[in-house]
Amino acid sequence: MEKKTISLSVNGQVFSVSTYVHKTLLEVLREDLGLTGAKESCGEGACGSCTVLLDGLPVRSCLLLAVEAEGRAILTIEGLASGPRLHPIQEAFVEHHAIQCGFCTPGMILTAKALLDDTPHPTEKEIRRALSGNICRCTGYTKIVEAIKAASRGEP
């Protein structure tokens, strides 16, 4: 089995990782870097739980080979808060009860961040469309949408 040493830029830090080339970015983040916020829920790129931002765009880290992510800026959920201070979107999710079991939450929050970075004041329709690739089994999405609306208004 082939191994490669790659340089991954994650949450502003550069890591040198020696990895099998057939490992996905999701696996390397979780197993080699201990960043377990991105989750595997479907194993086929359908659910969005593995979402990370790659150069600001949301991607399915379970469909990316780790070796392909070299040279790109990766943002995981762990890179969002500033120490004890939550990112406004995280704050909004907590305030508006947009989190129940929490398994889809990291992917959901990063997807929301990418949306608001691109469209600071989205309509509800735009929000729901942006979330259409993130599956939540617990919330029915209602409060997730409310949280993102609140975050877009600059509220917690």
Binding site: E40, G43, Q100, I109, R137, G140
Partner: protein, 760 residues
Amino acid sequence: MDELTQIGKGTRRVDAAAKATGEALFTADLSLPRMLVAKVLRSPLAHARILRVDTSKAERLPGVRAVVTSADSTGEKWGVFRYTQDQAFLPADKVRFIGEEVAAVAAVDEDTALEALGLIEVDYEELPAVFTLEESLKPGAILIHERNPGNINVHVKIDVGDVEKGFAGSFYVREDTFTAPEESYFQAEPYAVVARFDSAGNLDIWMPNAGPHLKAKPLSNCLKMALQKVRVRKITIGGAFGGRSEISPADVVCSLLARKAGQPVKLVYTREENSIATRQAHGMVTTIKTGVDREGRVLARDITCHMDGGAYSSTGPIATSVPFLCMEQAYRMENVRYNGFRVFTNKPVKGMYRTHGRAFACGVDLQLDMIGAELGIDPVEMRLRNARQAGDYTPTRSFVPSCAMTETIERTAAAAGWKEKWGKLPPFHGIGIGCNSVQTGFPMGIRGGSTAFIKFNEDGGATVISGVVDNGQGNENMLVQIAAEELGLLPEDIQLVTADTEVTPSDPGSYSMCSTFVGGNAVRLAAKDAKDKLFKIAARVLEAKVEDLVARGRQIFVRGEPERSLAIARAIRMALAKGESIAGEGAYWPKVDPRREWVENPYGQLSETFSFGTTIAEVRVDPETGLVEVLETWASQDVGFALNPKVVEGQFEGGLAMGGQGGMLTEYHMWDGGRLLNPSHAAYSLPLASDMPGINSIIVESHDPTGPYGAKEAAMSVAMSAAQAYVSAVSNALGVPLKEYPLTPDRILAAIEKKAEKGG
């Protein structure tokens, strides 16, 4: 009563921030030193005798540390009751469904584990298999379990009053049959287990569960260990929905591997394994015969239900009963007969699902619509005339202490604008209603009660120790709110130690909707116990009577005289200084009839109380494609009292998405014999954010006499009443009653075409 300061507020959940940052650890996130990776070898045959399992090549593969087969297990069989124990983990004799566990390996990494699986040789002798209710019940069909003639796993028989007389005296009688295939839970978190034995023979085990204490005892049986040495540990859990209460083969297999390897082992299921090798929801065929008087009041009902249970019993007797029980709680009927059959098939095992039997619940309610149509009575009125009332006894003799079913119907109908809409909407635009009820805490034998402890720190903080488990619904927060309220502290003063069988006392788990009613009550009582001790001290210091004291805002003070106060922290230190221990203990057992048994004696108090709810849905159908657009929904439930309204709303919303949007429009299993063709997201369609309608949540409070602060269970009935409302609404939109579920576009289109042919 003193004003509440914590309870009843939509305060932030205590577990939310950790989940928002990715700090919260789920089982698959755990990493222990020297941890191995496990994989399971599964049967590719639906029904076969196991002739030979040869693991020698796998054992010799470098990097493999342990391989287990039935030879490593104790042969203990699982079933929720002794009389239904039929599932061996790692069976020795035969496999009974595609995907059943046959062997497992633990290796240094996943690649090695996968390679090792390929080196295990298994010889099977294939047997004929049965895959449908029809095949399984056919005379002469092969028996899946020798001791179950006709492949009948469970027959629940209930007969109350005189059903025949009731029909004879009815103004109108009709009989209809409703069908639905199996569904999947699709919890966001795929099942996973981490197990570790220490040198003293203690097992630490983590897995998503709906009751650690419910897991620990069967594990101790299967592993032949003393219960105290089986320590099911606290872990963040990604959803249960009824499918994670029982011990799982994964739990036992992972433990056996850990013991054999002498190293911790992690076993993580793929999405497919989660769908095939844990639990699924029963497929059902339900025939309902109902007789009513001229005013649409039900005089008699006779229901026969056949459920496809898969290959093993699991929670058989309970699963076979609950759909009926929900109905008999929701609606009044003096004469009712029920024959519920759970039938074995060579398919994955079925358990209890949050939407208890869509082909049952939807059938009952749709039939009320149909009867109403015959009699000229609208669906809302039909529900009102048959609604359960407080003070009633259900047909199987449960007393209903609190019930606001009528209020849920009236308020939901008003909010939805029912009067302005029903019968007045354009073609293919419909509105419908569903009502249901759920037990709050049914008997769980010696594990039916919850005990809680509270300890104090000398600076005024408290720790609550409780077996209550949180699957994501907000149970941890509920305990903090209750403890803070009762103790007069703030939520940030309360720490929690929960769901760890080494530390926490027994608790029934979130199964059967117990957590608030039973676990919450136990914590409230423990807090009260602790507070009484503090009050005795404060009474002396403040020269007041204990009954005149109030605890609030970290102070104990005389009611009406806030200046006469003593800080709680001081009271604690005073106790400690005098050599007095200061801690609280409380226990709560639901008052149920201990003689009631699911099969032998299905009569008597089933659970201490019940919740009731109504959902209304408004839909538009595209007559060219049969696709349904859900315009808006209104969901209500009598929750007794909403301990946290935001949490309760979240439960309504999630329940509606699962039971209504997914359950009735897009979720169903497709089979090729014993093979599940849609175990993953590729072909099993969960609702998306862009599919969901607006949801208006209406919280109704009947203030239960014994629930903590009057609270009952929150929102399980919405999953079912939403399913019912969706069917009622789409049927209304088409002007055709739809009896086959889910309402996929092809079925809807076929119904539209059939109606057009008939000239309708």
